[in-house]
Each structure stands twice: as C-alpha cells, then as structure tokens.
Symmetry: C2
Subunit: 304 residues, 2 copies
C-alpha cells in the first residue's frame, strides 16, 4: 500500500503557547506532500520535526484567520531563498493573492519560482487537484469568515487477478491490464469469463479530511461520508458550548458527533484552545459519542 | 542605575534554522521595553525565553525584508486576542501600514487597541520617541531596499551634589534642584559658587544602536559615535567580502571596523548567515580589528 499519512505540525488555536503552535499539517501520499494551512512558525515546526520542505507543490489554506496563514509568506520566501524553480500551487480565497503579492512587492522580491493561485469556492464537485492516485476536493465549513474544509481521496486501485485465472488461461500482459481495469475475459475457446470470477476487489480507497475552523455543522457530512481519518477542530469542551457557538468553533463532543454521523473510521482532534494544556477531558467527552479518537500531537504522523 | 539592556530574540539572517531565528530584539530601559524588528516566530521566541509581552508600546522595523517583519502581524494579532487596550506605536516605512491593514482587512479583524504608525525617513535629527529618560533616533543604512538603524540614547542625568557643599551651605530643596540642573549657587553671604566646585559629573548617559541590515557603511559613524553597545550585522566572514558587497551585507570584520571607527564601547554581532552554525571564526576575524566583541546568543540579555 502507498503510504498515506497526516503529519500535524500545529494543533493550537489562535494564540501560540509553549505547548501548541498555530494550524498546519502535511498530508503525505507516496512521495507527494500537500500542506494544509500554514500558521506562523510552520517552517520552524518543519525544522523541529525534520520534515524537510521538498515535494510540497500544493498548499491549501482553509481561511484567512491569522493562525491559519501567517506563516505562508515566510515559507514562500524561504523556498525562494533556497532557489526553488518548480511551480507552487496555492488554493485559497482570492484575497490571499493580494496579501502575498503586496508582501512580495514591499520587499522588492521576485520569487525564484512561479506561484499559481487557485481560488476556492467555485465548485465542490470538481477536484482542486487530481492525479492518477489521488483527488483533493474542498467543501464549505461554518465559521466567522469564509472557510473551507478539504478531503483527500485515494482513487480506487485496479482489481487484483486471481492466481487461478493466470494459471488456467495464461493471459497476455494486455489482457491482464484489461481484466484488472474491470473487463471480462474472452478465452482462446471464445468463452466469456465474467470479471468478478477471475478478480478480487482492490483494497478500498482511503481518504482523509480536514475540518478547521467550524461551528458544529452537519452540512459537512455528505462531503466527508465514510472518510477514514477525519481531523476536526475541537477548540472547546462541553462546558463551553455557548462559547463554541458564539465563536463558530466546535467542542470535542461535537467533533465526535460529526465523526459518528459521517461514519468516519478515526477522528483526530486538534485546534485546541490555549486554555487546555491538559486535554484528557476533551478526549473523555468525545469518547462518550465516538470511540476511535486520538488527541493529535504536534510532530506526530497518523496513518490514514 | 536604571537597567538598560538588549535582549536578542533572533540573530539569524534570511532563512530560519534549528539554531537561529529571524531578527528581533527587545531594548529594555527601566520598565519600558522597545521591540526592534519582528521576524517570523518572534512571539514564539518571547514564549521560549519568557520575556512576556507587557510594557511593549513601541515597535521599530528596520526594513521590509521578511526576516525583519513577517512576525509582526502575528504578534499584533496575539496582543489583540489578549485584549490589549493601550495604543501601540509602529515606526517603519509607510508601506508596512498597507501590509498590516490588508492583513487585518482580509481576516475581518478590528484590533482591540489603536495602532499608530510613524513613518521613517523624514528627519534623523528629531527623535522618533522621547520621554524624560530616553530618546530614540533613526539613521540610514545601506541595504538593497530602504533600511534604517536605530539608536537609543539615555538623557544625561542631573549633576551630583558634593557632600561638602551640603554640609557647608545647607541649601534648600529648591536650591539643590537648581544646582543639580547645573546652575551656580549664591550663598547667604552673596558669594557666587561655581557649579563645578560643588557638584560632580553625573554618570555618563548610555546608548545602544542597531545596525541591521547594511553593507559596510561609514556614513553611520556620526550617528552612532561613542555608542556604548553596538549591535551590528555580521552576515558573512572574510572569505565572503565580494558576496557581502553584492548582497549589501557586512562581514564580521567590517562590523568591527565600524565599531572601532565609531569608538563604540562594545560590539554585539548578529544576523548570522545560516551557513555558520559554528561562528568562532567570525569572532576571531572581528577581534583582529576591535577587542570588545560578543557573538550574540538568542535569549541572552546584554547590558548597555
């Protein structure tokens, strides 16, 4: 199986502290890495956790609150100083382009590489990114300003050939490809063998989603249905439900409710309030609703 | 004596590494603290070194290369989230105001405190800041974009009364104030006693200056003449003189030459290239020219 992981670089909300940094994570699929959000100090977190900065060609910014993008310009600048040449794609609301361009203009900088902006919000059905292995979509969240979640979907693999089929029919390479792609097989004797008789299902495609920042918002469920790994914000605890509503954030239990209703495989909690150095109670509250939950830890990678 | 120190928060150039962060320092005079430059992650450095963020009402930004100001918006945002009320003054080129305002606009933020911009470049003779104890001036440096240095000058203290004067003449409180301020004394017998006979010189006023980023630039010398503590950039070593010239930066030896010609008390080197994890040779090269030199260390405070 192709490695597919989420590495949390920052899982704090709003204000950095000694124990949590602003939002950022890297989604790794094989040799490709995608950055999601880039709070201040993300590049320092990458140094601390020795992630390197290679193979990142796509950066997704959920919204323009500072704790989700203030580190972007510094990271772009560092890539420039390292002499990057290949294009870098940024997916965000259109206002981010103005911010980045103004910052480059005042510092009299011409980046060493092309920066390509892709504006969010036009279509949630069309992938933002699409290659032979993976597709990335965005969907609306419910926060104080326009905010989007992201879902990374592995494409279904080829069907697997049964050993007995190869032994019995000695198919050519072309025939094997055809059968793997789902076609029936016609034997030398002219007999049609149904695909399902000679293949087994591929490993089910995996997916991970990112929901931060958002109030409790059931409208996300269709977009993330059956996701394997859901990262959902859990800024507040059960005692702060009013505060969560007012600030358009979620409690840990609300995150668990979304995970349960979306039939997620695992829930990874993050975007913790700076109030909670000790977060055990968030986990306990959330586990009342849904069992497969992990409190994210900065620098840790999680299998999708 | 009023405490007067420089705390180095970041002494790296351009690209952050595991061993150095972008430029920032705090100049402390008594209970007042002034921030000079604010590279990305400055607020995290303040957390690491437990400086707190109180008593900072004035921030001076030397120029708009990212490693000197990308941390500003995050720090301003954090002060806002902490509910700051008192005005904050920023001294920078006028383009910074546009950058900050655009970042606040796109995040739909109204700061909880007034932000007052003061644009650099109009007069080097007028202090940017002036209170009963200290004055702060700026002066031009020679870098790729418009860049300024800063000098913090303690005001001269009052003259000190000789014990013998008090014992002999029993002056009133008013008379003592007049003599301390430099006036001569007229005795009850009508005799004029020259001020210098009855007073001793106050402790000489102290000063510190910040010169980063700049090429070797002798024009700064009149502005920093006799400064007690000079922080000067030392991006490169002797083998990189051409590179220093090309990039409008200084070598450690050039920084020492400026310190020597300016008759500085002490030289504090910083803005080190990411190439130099080991910097002993920078110190050795600089000490060929000027002896009172320290390689700055992040988190350390230096007496002015």
């Amino acid at each position: 199986m192709v490695p597919f992981t989420v590495t949390v670089l920052g899982n704090g909300s709003a204000v950095p502290t000694s124990f949590q940094k602003p939002s950022s994570q890297l989604v790794t699929y094989g040799s490709k890495r995608f950055m999601v959000d880039c709070g201040e100090g993300t590049q320092m977190q990458m140094i601390t956790y020795k992630t390197g900065h290679r193979h990142i060609d796509h950066i997704f910014i959920s919204h323009l609150h500072g704790d989700h993008f203030f580190g972007l310009i510094g990271f772009l600048n560092t890539l420039h100083l390292y002499g990057r040449k290949q294009p870098l794609h940024i997916y965000a609301v259109k206002e981010l382009k103005k911010v980045v361009e103004l910052q480059l203009e005042v510092s009299n900088s011409n980046l060493s590489y092309p920066l390509m902006f892709h504006f969010l919000g036009s279509s949630f059905q069309e992938p933002l990114y699409d290659d032979k292995n993976i597709e990335i979509f965005h969907f609306p969240l419910n926060h104080r300003i326009t905010t989007y979640g992201f879902i990374f979907r592995e494409k279904p693999g080829e069907r697997k050939l049964k050993k007995s089929f190869i032994e019995e029919f000695h198919p050519s390479i072309e025939q094997m490809h055809a059968v793997k792609s789902g076609r029936d097989f016609i034997s030398k004797a002219g007999e049609t063998i149904a695909n399902k008789e000679i293949t087994i299902d591929p490993i089910p495609p995996r997916s991970c989603a990112y929901c931060s920042d958002t109030a409790y918002f059931e409208e996300v469920i269709p977009y993330i249905k059956n996701v394997n790994l859901l990262y959902h914000e859990a800024t507040f605890d059960n005692s702060q439900q009013m505060l969560a509503k007012e600030k358009f954030h979620s409690t840990a239990a609300q995150a668990a409710t979304i995970a349960k209703k979306a039939k997620a495989g695992k829930l990874l909690l993050g975007h913790f309030s700076a109030r909670f150095k000790e977060r055990t109670h968030l986990l306990e509250e959330a586990k009342e609703i849904f069992l497969e939950i992990t409190l994210s830890v900065e620098g840790e990678s999680y299998e999708v």
